[in-house]
Symmetry: C2
Subunit: 421 residues, 2 copies
């Protein structure tokens, strides 16, 4: 059975990523204390990448490291002068992360190539399997780092000077592990890109649909608000003499949640708004807070909607500041517009699912992915497979083996289609 290859690889990469090298083959084996720590610049990264490279070479691919540590592995096409089809994801994990995030897209792309080999499929276009470096930002602080540099969004020199917790530069770390090459991918020589990934959300699992076809990678913006009131004794300060920043902040939490819900109901879209960070100081039950620091995360597949909600929230914060006499410092530390996927790629993925009788639904990606960088240069799409209970970035992350097989099959079929047009 050909699926033994990818299953074995996912299990072994999981084993290599865990501190205690636990071998997890079933959902029941998962353990909250036994997540992956495959950070860039570590021995775990070295071992895992050497493992995948040897598998790539076994599949007959030509493997090159680029100047920022991305891996590109090429299967030539039969028609010279055609632009390539690319697929892949990343191998690095968050701290104490799960065994499918990233790994799935790498192993899936490699498996797709092997299946083409097995059936002597004639891919006219070359196939490139990619492992992007540092997607999670868990070691060198910046997410999407390898793809940022590869598509020219971030200067190489700047990236190589980033440091990890041990104050080692990315340059030193990658050199030390033998992960720096001199290849440079020319993205104008790539026609299509597909990244397969776990959904990291609950939709497919709840809806019992095995394949998600991503239409948009969500836009994301953060609004941070530092709200200052007047710290005071909770017993001796009458209600009428208070300037309580937490009362103002609580209004903001409710407003953001209510408006996002309303927008989804009205448009059927993917709007989300979250207050995940709220630091109340000094934080004693008997002291009226002096300050509240909060971060609001706003996402939408449609930029107009994202902007609108952001504007509404900022406007409301300013009104609340007046109403409650608090002072507010606002900042927008993050603003990434949504990234639409290519219609051609979306349809190729859907067609592949239809051909195999596998149910699929269109959806947005609520998380960021290397695909959004590649999409700046290349017609791009993403395939999602279900995350059990929507759990991700956790040792408890799980995708059923059948669902992975469906994803690999759809990916293989879509890549085959795209490699001949």
């Amino acid at each position: 059975m050909s699926d033994h290859r990818w299953k074995e690889e996912i299990i072994e990469l999981g084993e290599m990523g865990r501190e205690d090298s636990a071998r997890v083959t079933r959902y029941e084996d998962l353990d909250l204390d036994k997540g992956l720590f495959r950070l860039e610049g570590t021995e775990k990264s070295k071992k895992s990448k050497e493992y995948i490279i040897s598998r790539m070479e076994e599949a007959g691919l030509e493997v090159r490291y680029d100047k920022v540590g991305n891996i590109f592995a090429r299967k030539e096409g039969s028609k010279t002068g055609t632009r390539a089809v690319m697929s892949g994801s990343h191998l690095d994990s968050v701290l104490n992360g799960g065994m499918f995030d990233g790994v799935l897209g790498v192993v899936g792309a490699l498996e797709a190539v092997r299946r083409m080999n097995d059936e002597n499929f004639d891919n006219e276009r070359p196939i490139e399997v990619v492992v992007f470096m540092g997607e999670e930002g868990s070691a060198f602080k910046k997410g999407l780092l390898g793809s940022d540099v590869a598509v020219g969004k971030r200067p190489l020199e700047e990236a190589l000077l980033l440091t990890n917790e041990a104050n080692i530069t990315l340059d030193e770390a990658l050199k030390g592990l033998g992960q720096l090459g001199d290849f440079e991918m020319d993205f104008s020589a790539i026609e299509y890109f597909i990244e397969m990934h776990v959904e990291q959300g609950p939709v497919l699992d709840r809806e019992k649909v095995p394949i998600g076809v991503v239409e948009n990678i969500t836009g994301i913006t953060w609004v941070t608000a530092n709200i200052n009131g007047q710290e005071n004794h909770a017993g001796t300060t009458p209600m009428s003499m208070r300037i309580d920043p937490l009362v103002a902040a609580s209004n903001i939490v409710l407003l953001a949640s209510r408006r996002a819900n309303e927008m989804v109901k009205k448009s059927g879209g993917s709007t989300v708004a979250t207050v995940g960070k709220m630091v109340v100081k000094p934080g004693a039950p008997n002291i009226i807070p002096g300050s509240v620091e909060m971060g609001i995360d706003i996402r939408d597949g449609i930029e107009k909607n994202m902007k609108r909600l952001q504007t509404e929230i900022i406007h409301a914060i300013k009104e609340l500041a007046e109403q409650y006499k608090v002072t507010v410092t606002l900042d927008i530390p993050i603003y990434h517009p949504p990234c639409p996927c290519s219609g051609t790629v979306v349809e190729a993925i859907e067609q592949a699912a239809v051909d195999m009788g596998i149910r699929a639904m269109r959806m947005n990606s609520g998380a960021g992915h290397d695909a959004q960088n590649v999409a700046q240069k290349v017609k791009t799409g993403m395939i999602f497979v279900p995350s059990v209970d929507g759990v991700s970035h956790s040792p408890l992350e799980w995708t059923d083996w059948e669902d992975i097989e469906n994803g690999v099959a759809v990916l293989t079929s879509a890549l085959k289609q795209l490699s001949r047009i």
Copy 2:
């Protein structure tokens, strides 16, 4: 000028309480980094108490330590068999506290006795000046500790086994400093008690009234709520699939504040409700919180109102839990009913102010005081003097010297009245 005595004592006790022994004589000298650290069981406490004892002895008082480290200093009365009049407060401070909190009531009571001495006033009843041990709870964790034991609310043995940060028992600490005696105050031999204290709130300062006559020491209750939802990715979890404990918690903040405001408007009472503690976990902007831990402080001078608001809030929390599908663990770690002051003492204080042409207003104490313990046994009242901007438990705590003189004058006059009836 007789006021040189108390002013010098307040300034010198401040000096002894600061790490750097800074001498602060004017508001302009205050420094946020130079507060008092006069914790029980420290050399600062030893020095300060020995200082006040020597001043008490100079004033002809008989000084005794009781079995938990309270100091009682007695001026005999002219009429044998009469019950005494007591006055005083505490000398311990919070960490980085102010120079007036507690100290004022001790020095004020001593000064009142000295003024009686100066004018050969014939006090029929004995006068007891008291320094309660460990009012703030900053070293041995439990507030009102000395008065709790003195009035029999807490067993002596239990109190002596409490430990401080250095894991030293109260017994060892007090013995080491020579602050344990074998006196036991019989509160049935006390007829009246007055504690003078800084208001620790903004009312007198804002209203420009120099004397507050306390009618009730506020009741206080805490409700703590641990709200658990479902930690999730802020981008990949649609609004309709969230169980967000912070949205539930924000409703509670607003409800508590709104209802307290409404109750004050309706009854003109002293109701306050505060959420001062709110810990949101894990606390990243891009993660829907998994849990919120909050503490709600509810106070009122009227127990019925306090209970009513508490019941309403608990009821609302339960309703919100259902509405938002969060689970909530509720606790009521603190419940102290309000403590009404004695009409006789309240009127004696008011009469004293009227006699001297000093404006006074009735008010509630929003903070807890040793007086609430004494009031369980003895007819009790409190005199408040203005706190500049309502600031207390801070190095920036200040009360103008003129206001202290007014307080000392009113206290002296009231004690004189009460010592002859």
